[in-house]
Symmetry: C2
Subunit: 319 residues, 2 copies
């Protein structure tokens, strides 16, 4: 229990994850409205868009308009996502507005790397080496290694902590070769294989191996255990979480694989509140933004809390 953090950092990914998957089109003005509302809740890190090929992800064809359109708050870091040199170039055009950092993004499952990127693990390492060098050549710091499928994979099955560590070692080798100083490790439950005992094992082993790195969790709710996994992470001392308002990022069509989004930001904040862990977020404001997100996408979102209301609001009424 002494491992529990006093406060956590939340990286809100709702706009980026949500708007890329919605059948849309979502008006640019609505995307901007959501980003500006999120920035008023006390969230300090918001991922606002993907710079990706608009033919592949039409939902982000307006990425540049979104980034140039929102009114930025000085106390909020706005981030974006990209996967290649063209994406980086588009991001760099907004150096004044975006917090631009690079990441060495690897996958603990070679089967997923092949399926998702059409590359072998070795080819992916080579691609990441090039991308890291490219970032550094633009004075973009690369301080983070991300491991996808860190808790299991629909194509490869279980992933052992040793496989996660080996993947991270590959990432550290790339960082060393390129002269990057890694500070953060992010472990992603990309396909919803995590359960609390597995989270405890993987986080524990990674922390033992790299005690000076901060560890972050990116938890998809594919099988309904994301909030239990977040709780397990908090008890292990994890103080960095990605999450999405309303649970954005799920597939809006019933009965399809991958229907679930990320762990909901509101539910993560409520969990922290009840555990005495600070998030800096005004939960009632965030719930209002969750309801706004639901209105913007035009369908019910997975978050239960935005439908029920916060305990705080009921405590006030009952007092």
């Amino acid at each position: 229990m002494t491992d529990m953090p006093r406060s956590i950092n939340i990286h809100e990914e709702g706009p980026r994850e949500g708007f890329q998957i919605e059948p849309g089109p979502i008006p640019t003005a609505d995307k901007i409205r959501l980003i500006e509302a999120l920035a008023e809740t006390g969230l300090h890190h918001i991922q606002v868009c993907s710079f990706v090929n608009p033919r592949v992800v039409p939902g982000w064809a307006d990425a540049a308009d979104v980034v140039s359109g929102f009114k930025a708050r000085p106390d909020v870091r706005y981030t974006a996502l990209w996967f290649n040199a063209q994406g980086l170039e588009r991001a760099l055009a907004f150096r004044d507005r975006l917090h631009i950092t690079g990441s060495i993004s690897l996958t603990a499952s070679e089967a997923f790397t092949r399926k998702n990127l059409n590359r072998s693990h070795a080819e992916n390492l080579e691609a990441m080496r090039k991308q890291t060098a490219l970032h550094l050549s633009h004075d973009v710091p690369v301080e983070r290694i991300g491991v996808m499928a860190a808790f299991g994979c629909n194509y490869q099955g279980d992933i052992t902590p040793a496989q996660v560590i080996s993947t991270l070692e590959d990432g550290f080798t790339i960082a060393k070769e390129c002269g990057a100083t890694i500070k953060h490790i992010s472990l992603a439950d990309t396909m919803g294989w995590g359960a609390p005992p597995r989270v405890e094992r993987v986080v524990g082993e990674v922390r033992s191996r790299w005690p000076d790195q901060t560890i972050g969790l990116h938890l998809h709710d594919t099988r309904g255990l994301a909030i239990a996994n977040a709780h397990a992470g908090l008890k292990m001392g994890v103080a960095q979480f990605d999450s999405t308002v309303g649970g954005l990022g799920g597939c809006p069509f019933a009965g399809q694989k991958g229907a679930a989004g990320n762990v909901c930001t509101e539910e993560l904040v409520m969990l922290c509140q009840e555990m005495g862990i600070e998030t800096g977020v005004d939960l009632d404001r965030l719930i209002e933004v969750g309801r706004m997100a639901e209105e913007i996408v035009g369908h019910v979102l997975p978050s239960e809390l935005i439908h029920a209301g916060s305990l705080g609001s009921f405590r006030k009424r009952a007092a």
Copy 2:
């Protein structure tokens, strides 16, 4: 960790909770089909209906037809719910098919008792005293005290462990006066106020006070933390859970209070599997029944796992 149970008992309440809230009408044959399918999954306790006033709960106007209609398995206990003498009488007509036991049902929140039952706590105690005596006079054992709103209340706010214990003491007084031997305590998070630290505190204090009672949890997912609360309960040694297949029991209309159902049986079973705790349930079969439930009610159910499929099924494919 040594508190963790080796196995748990699940009381499947999907048919009862689900069909009472659906706008329906759900054909009697579909209710029977779901009950029979649930009994093939390895579940040993299934609550099949409510004997309630059909003018108030039209979804259970066909309770008698359902109970007389399903093919019973000898290794499954089929239970029902009722709230008064008329309901008990209707249940007793099925003594050969139903496992009929009584319960002293109290609420830790007087505000909720007034709102829900239009009674003071004292009036409710008197009603429970009469009901307990009535059950015993029909040779129906009363071995359980249930406490609703044991973790908080939308009308009264936070509920302390001391209030839960005081409510249970009232129940034990009734049991003693009536000559009932209590073996089980059930703590219900009726309005979704539970979070892991609160579950740990309440379960811990109740167990210290009554170490020989088995403790059960009934967890609504109103604010999205039900599975994290179940995990906290498991780690505290709780080995009795109510749950509903697919998360049945929620309100199918978007944006309404009480939209969430109970903790999903499938997700509870998956959690237990990953923790090495036996449930006796064949998860893949149960997922099929969750999909059947979704087809019967005609809308998407809250369970993520029925949409994603079990880890076991993907392990097989990956092997």
